[in-house]
Symmetry: C2
Subunit: 434 residues, 2 copies
């Protein structure tokens, strides 16, 4: 018994071509593993003539991917065009309406329309699979939805953007500032000409919103994700982090709190005792803390043709093997309404760096403000002395509320001995290895 | 529609009681995730009266677990008694013959009887699931069989024994020798009174043999696993490893070579550029190198009631959700016959530590032997000087064959300037983070 699973690919960029290559090169292996052969039976892309290093001669070509989703004789449509709305969304809608499974790497679309798409797919009895949308080659959706299904998760957090992690890693290794390293990342092809999606945390927020739904069985609320990028992280802060036993990472974190589901993306001081502190360069990693599993970390390549294609083909293998699961851990119609916790209710420790005029009494002024706002200092560090001119002063706090910290920062910023706006980086309390 | 999946648990030690607790405490959560409630409908253990901190009053009790596997009205039997043969095997045979699914954490049984059990289960149309048998809470079987199914894997390696990793970690941190740290591990409950299964690599070899079948779609050949433990690792070697940019880890490694499937368990010098070098304490971790995914690492707790129960319940959730997959990546009747590569064909780099009489010419003698055996030296280190008495000399080599290295070591050992038998630790070439 060797039947076929017929696949259409919409979008033949590096990931689309990579997916095509996996299916071609591993035909026999995949047939053995699935009991079905996976056959590309239709493709659609913008430019038919472009050389993609793959032989498409015998594959039906569609100029219009939406038409392909409607008319091609396929079981699955792989959507690799991207963008939250527009043609990508139309392809998925059309494929599902025509009773075809959908596999997509489109995190923006899922962050904005994941729930209605999942509902539609489940009503129609087809699969909506998206392993490739979060953390590239790392099978994290499968791990959360299946591998850790026995747990009530307490927190899920991760390094979900390789560009930002590469920049932070290089800043630490070279001591250079953000702008210089960004330029290098752009030359190396690790950052886009317009890097804002990556370095401003938007890409991480898309992925986090999806992870939240899988991990906590709730609807997606992308607008509820507090998002802050890495542009304001300076070489000075990275140096102090090392000195204090931390590394600075851009983390996406989701956890249930009394005030609702906390979803936040921002640079974090991560203790060196935590495994994720060592995840460097373009790698991604996700940690899941559960009530029985304790803590599990999943690390690998977060992007690139090969890793992303690996995830897409894993979804196709699941479909071919007949695995049929709820899109997000529980059936879409049973997903909990999400209540996102406001960021000012966040509770945690903080790192502050102030540029102060070095004269007696200035630290006392800062300390008084923190006391007034009920923020308890854990440490204070003034390495340099330079009477009369500006020196950096670093303060770490015990756990306090974000709103108290924000009030304190506003007041500190108004002191005339404070020369630049204070820099604040949240300290993340994470479990370490035993 | 809320039907039940009825579960029998054979063995109520910490893991069995932990599994019972997950099913009790997460009843609602699991029902939501599976669409079925998971109900413990039979239990069997040695001592009915023992207090396990769980309420078994309304659960039918069987004194004989084999009888339970045959007669209890259940869909799944969870085997947690352990041991390669005997009652554990009988329970599984009986359950499968009676058309019941089996979930087990029994790595020894699978390493020895996994293939015939899988064949029987697949013929009978039931699931044989064993996520808990390898690396506790880490969903590595799922990752290899499903998440990375699009890849031809090039190598899978891991830290699969928490006891050994704890001992090596503590030796490094404290500078103490193996025996002292083992004693501490025993006091802490991390090592058994008879630690040989853990520290001699047998436990790692069991798990590796199972991983080999999943990763490479071949039969299991436990006897083909080269196995060497950590008793001979000394504090001195751990110190030199640090100096040379390595950490010593007990790795299980499997990879296809021209000579067959190389399966080996032994202490390795792991470069500090490799993520697995940072996996410390009782944690386990597995790295899979694939042709498309590049490299993915999975880290977490390798043992303990909670993590192991988490894996068992994940298997139950899969069964309840109707997921039906080949036991080891491909149907058992299609698994390739395994040809295990003999260890003397291993090709790699080596670390040697010799205790030599410190006098002119002794290193030349060693160098001449290595040259004769065509082993190329990469570095030589003699830190101490102590003319006339014994000093450690450390040599690292370029890649060479295990047989050449063994011949050289035999000859070196016969030199009368060599005071102790040479210590050899294999250097593992691993990809790093970008």
């Amino acid at each position: 018994m060797n039947t076929q699973l017929k696949v259409a690919i919409a979008g033949l960029g590096t990931v689309g071509a990579g997916t095509y290559r996996v299916l071609q090169e591993h035909g026999e292996l995949l047939t053995e593993r699935c009991g079905h052969s996976l056959v590309v039976s239709a493709v659609s892309a913008r430019d038919r003539k472009r050389d993609r290093g793959i032989n498409l001669q015998n594959v039906p070509w569609f100029d219009d991917p939406v038409q392909m989703a409607a008319e091609a004789e396929v079981d699955v449509v792989v959507e690799l065009i991207g963008g939250a709305d527009g043609v990508a969304k139309e392809i998925c809608d059309t494929a599902i309406q025509h009773g075809r499974h959908v596999v997509t790497a489109n995190k923006a679309m899922l962050a904005h329309h994941g729930i209605p798409l999942a509902r539609m797919a489940e009503e129609r009895g087809v699969v909506l699979a998206y392993e490739a949308a979060v953390a590239g080659g790392i099978p994290i959706i499968k791990a959360l939805r299946e591998g850790l299904a026995g747990n009530h998760l307490k927190r899920v957090y991760g390094i979900l953007n390789g560009t930002s992690n590469f920049i932070l890693t290089e800043m630490r290794r070279s001591g250079r500032e953000f702008e210089a390293v960004l330029e290098e990342a752009q030359k190396l092809g690790y950052a886009e000409a317009d890097p804002s999606f990556d370095v401003d945390g938007v890409d991480t927020a898309h992925k986090l919103a999806i992870l939240a739904a899988v991990a906590f069985g709730c609807e997606i609320d992308f607008d509820g994700v507090y998002t802050e990028g890495i542009r304001h992280v300076s070489a000075l802060d990275i140096g102090y982090a090392e000195e204090l036993g931390y590394r600075i990472k851009l983390l996406g974190t989701v956890r249930p709190t009394e005030d609702g589901l906390e979803q936040r993306v921002h640079p974090c001081m991560v203790p060196l005792s935590a495994p994720i502190a060592y995840v460097e360069g373009v790698d991604n990693a996700i940690v899941a803390d559960g009530d029985f599993v304790e803590s599990a970390m999943f690390e690998g390549r977060g992007a690139g043709a090969g890793p992303t294609a690996s995830a897409i083909v894993a979804d196709l293998v699941d479909i071919a093997r007949g695995t049929r699961l709820p899109t997000f851990s529980v059936p879409a119609r049973h997903l909990a309404r999400i209540l996102s916790a406001p960021m000012d209710r966040h509770w945690g420790a903080y790192y502050l760096r102030l540029m102060l005029v070095d004269r007696p009494g200035v630290i006392a002024d800062v300390a008084a403000i923190l006391r007034d706002e009920k923020v308890s200092m854990e440490s204070m560090l003034q390495r340099q002395r330079s009477p009369g001119s500006t020196v950096p002063v670093v303060i770490t706090t015990h756990e306090t509320s974000e709103s108290a910290m924000r009030h304190a920062l506003e007041r500190i910023d108004r002191l005339d001995t404070v020369v630049e706006s204070p820099r604040m980086i949240r300290i993340e309390t994470l479990g370490g290895r035993t």
